[in-house]
């Protein structure tokens, strides 16, 4: 018993010494803390993982250059496992415990929505990597949320781009295939909302679960519906199954996908069924094909080369969202200093910033800052991306 007590006392003492040693090794200038919550594990891990990698790379790079105005940045990153409750706990920890200046994250709309009330109450700027417009605008009051920004292009932009294209091709009847997740749902809602503006008739509106292994039944129904084009709104993996199923069914309709599939991995998963698919995509995946005059080209190629050299895996648009979030946020901190209100104001003043997702022009009423020009229509030919002329 005495031995045990002695050991305990000793352990505590050693611990205290260690802590005080750590404290004396302080940097000359106080660090800037940036909090990050991402869906690194769990169902959205294919979004969270490249985002985490990108942020890690960028933070390292920035600190190697001497940080922001001589202040090193300390990035504190937590995984919410795709769970709303955990997302909230982590955000609170970052705000209250770690006292971060600003937040980046999360990867999905649901997990971001869970922390929006908290960051608003705590008055901490948040740059989200999730797409839904509900993140930046209250769906009830239609007011812009003061403290929340996002970098991914909104679905309405992608839908507009697709509809412009279909109208040019003279399509009249369309069919929707959407996945029953937040992503698929908001895409579907936009498609339904904007279709009348283009005088499109929605002849079929089918849904499937993200875990489904076969969508032939839904596609068979579409096959018989007289649709001229099928618009599939889903994240990467189930979209690949839709492409394969369409090929198996011998369907000749035009297949349009959402920007959610814009990664090389999609082509790998769908195999030769991916040939001829058309989709709106951020410019990241077609950076090489862009004219030299494009203001984004340098940023895109730069990011891609660095990322692929470091992680030996292809870039994805999701990593790009994190890139934009990090770059805009650190720029804002550079101008504003460690003051949350000023950082927020600076984020709102971003103009003409060339990111991976497009040219950002924020405003008091626009916390997304992108237009439909953020997208290019691309197609897949011989296992590679090609611009649609």
């Amino acid at each position: 018993m005495k031995k045990l007590a002695l050991t305990a006392v000793l352990t505590v003492l050693v611990g205290l010494v260690a802590i005080s040693v750590a404290n004396t090794a302080e940097q000359a200038k106080e660090t800037y803390k940036i909090g990050v919550v991402l869906d690194i594990t769990g169902p959205a891990s294919s979004l969270g993982e490249p985002e985490k990698q990108t942020l890690g790379m960028l933070a390292e790079e920035l600190n190697a250059k001497g940080g922001i105005n001589g202040h090193l940045i300390e990035m504190i990153l937590y995984d919410n496992e795709g769970d709303e409750a955990k997302s909230l706990i982590k955000a609170k920890k970052l705000i209250e415990q770690d006292k971060v200046l600003a937040l980046i994250g999360t990867s999905q709309s649901g997990t971001t929505m869970a922390i929006v009330p908290t960051v608003t109450a705590a008055q901490i700027p948040l740059v989200s990597c999730a797409a839904s417009w509900k993140i930046i605008r209250d769906p009830e009051t239609k007011k812009t949320r003061e403290w929340v920004f996002k970098t991914p292009q909104s679905d309405s932009l992608a839908v507009t781009k697709i509809f412009d294209y279909l109208q040019k091709k003279g399509v009249k009847k369309i069919a929707i295939m959407s996945v029953s997740t937040g992503y698929g749902d908001s895409g579907r809602a936009e498609l339904q909302r904007l279709a009348p503006n283009y005088k499109f008739e929605i002849v079929a509106d089918e849904r499937f679960a993200p875990t489904d292994t076969d969508m032939s039944a839904q596609l068979t129904k579409i096959k018989g519906s007289g649709a001229e084009a099928v618009i599939c709104w889903a994240i990467r993996d189930p979209s690949a199954v839709v492409a394969k199923n369409m090929k198996q069914l011998g369907m000749k309709q035009m297949l349009i996908m959402s920007h959610g599939v814009a990664t090389k991995k999609f082509i790998e998963l769908a195999g030769d069924a991916s040939e001829g698919i058309i989709l709106p995509a951020g410019k990241l995946i077609v950076a090489d094909l862009l004219p030299a005059t494009d203001p984004q080209k340098k940023v895109l190629i730069d990011y891609r080369n660095k990322f692929e050299a470091k992680y030996k895996t292809p870039v994805s648009t999701f990593g790009g969202h994190a890139y934009d979030a990090f770059t805009m946020l650190t720029d804002a901190i550079k101008k504003a200093g460690p003051d949350q209100k000023k950082i927020r104001d600076e984020l709102e003043k971003v103009k003409g910033f060339p990111g991976t997702g497009g040219i950002f022009n924020m405003g008091p009423d626009d916390h997304e800052g992108l237009t439909k020009d953020a997208f290019m229509m691309v197609t897949i030919k011989n296992g590679n991306w090609e611009l649609v002329k």
């Binding site: 089918e206 292994t213 076969d214 039944a217 839904q218 993996d237 394969k244 198996q248 069914l249 069924a273």
Partner: protein
């Protein structure tokens, strides 16, 4: 597309998915027969089979069929190890305990898969040509023919195995009466071990058959496992022909309800059919009556 062509197409789709469910359900049934355990890790065997095949095929550069056979064999081995490490020590635990152990096993296997293969999805090329084949007014892919043929082959081999071989007969004896089987000199332990290997093998086989149609990832087995479980119960747990029937019924119900009712509620229909059946006929389609003892 005429209505009958459409119906035919739904049926083809349903049978293809149903065949995969049937293989998974057979795995449940085999283990249940020798142990009365529901193995919630069955879906993970499916995932492991396809994951191993995917990594053997392009990485080692072996021919596809070699990769498939190796993957199935390795997964069977994993099934054996799983039984030895996780099941045997607690064979006589309560139903709740065993359910939780196999759920724990399924989470563990998923965790291992993430460590080995990461979280990215992968796919296999089709076994043969990917051009769709015309079949009356409907179409089917070469791979769905493979799935159907593979399932049929597995069912026939399994039947032969159970009826004609000593081991198969011993397994049946264990299912019928474990105590009596032991008295006849059958090593029940060996049979339990064997049944885990066999059902892992079937699961892995289902996995490699379906991967070219879809894709696979660390979590791809969970839903297949649940559907297979449904199928096994629907057919009357422990009955092999029942498991196959249950699988096909669920596949077809899903496909028809997606086609004619509501695609969003497709999975719900599968489970509702199951619930309805449990209420009306708790022992499954093919079993006569649940004896209370």
């Amino acid at each position: 597309m005429e209505w009958y062509d459409q119906l035919l197409q739904y049926l083809i789709t349903g049978i293809t998915t149903g065949a995969v469910y049937a293989l998974v359900a057979l795995g449940f049934s085999i283990i249940y027969n020798s142990t009365e355990i529901i193995n919630f890790a069955q879906g993970e065997f499916v995932m492991l089979g396809s994951m191993i095949a995917v990594s053997l095929f392009p990485l080692l550069g072996v021919p596809l069929w070699v990769a498939v056979i190796l993957a199935v064999a390795i997964t069977a081995l994993i099934g054996l190890i799983f039984e030895r490490l996780a099941i045997r020590p607690v064979r006589n635990g309560s139903v709740i305990n065993l359910i939780i152990i196999t759920i724990g096993g399924s989470i563990l296997l998923k965790g291992i898969a993430v460590l080995i293969w990461g979280k990215e999805s992968r796919s296999l090329p089709a076994f043969t040509s990917t051009e769709p084949i015309k079949f009356f007014g409907a179409t089917l892919s070469g791979q769905s023919l493979w799935v159907m043929a593979g399932t049929l082959l597995a069912v026939i081999l399994l039947h032969y195995f159970y009826e004609k071989t000593i081991t198969g007969k011993a397994l049946r004896a264990c299912a019928f009466n474990r105590k009596a089987a032991r008295l006849c000199g059958i090593s029940v332990e060996r049979m339990v071990l064997f049944s885990f290997g066999l059902s892992a093998l079937l699961g892995a086989f289902a996995g490699v058959l379906i991967t070219p149609i879809t894709y696979t990832a660390w979590d791809a087995g969970t839903m297949l496992g649940l559907k297979g479980f449904c199928a096994a119960i629907l057919g009357g747990i422990g009955s092999n022909p029942g498991a196959v029937m249950g699988g096909l019924v669920i596949g077809i119900v899903e496909s028809l309800s997606a086609g004619y009712l509501s695609s969003g509620y497709k999975d719900a229909f599968a489970f509702l059919i199951l619930l309805l059946m449990l209420y009306l006929r708790p022992a499954g389609i093919l079993k006569k009556k649940l004896e209370k003892v």
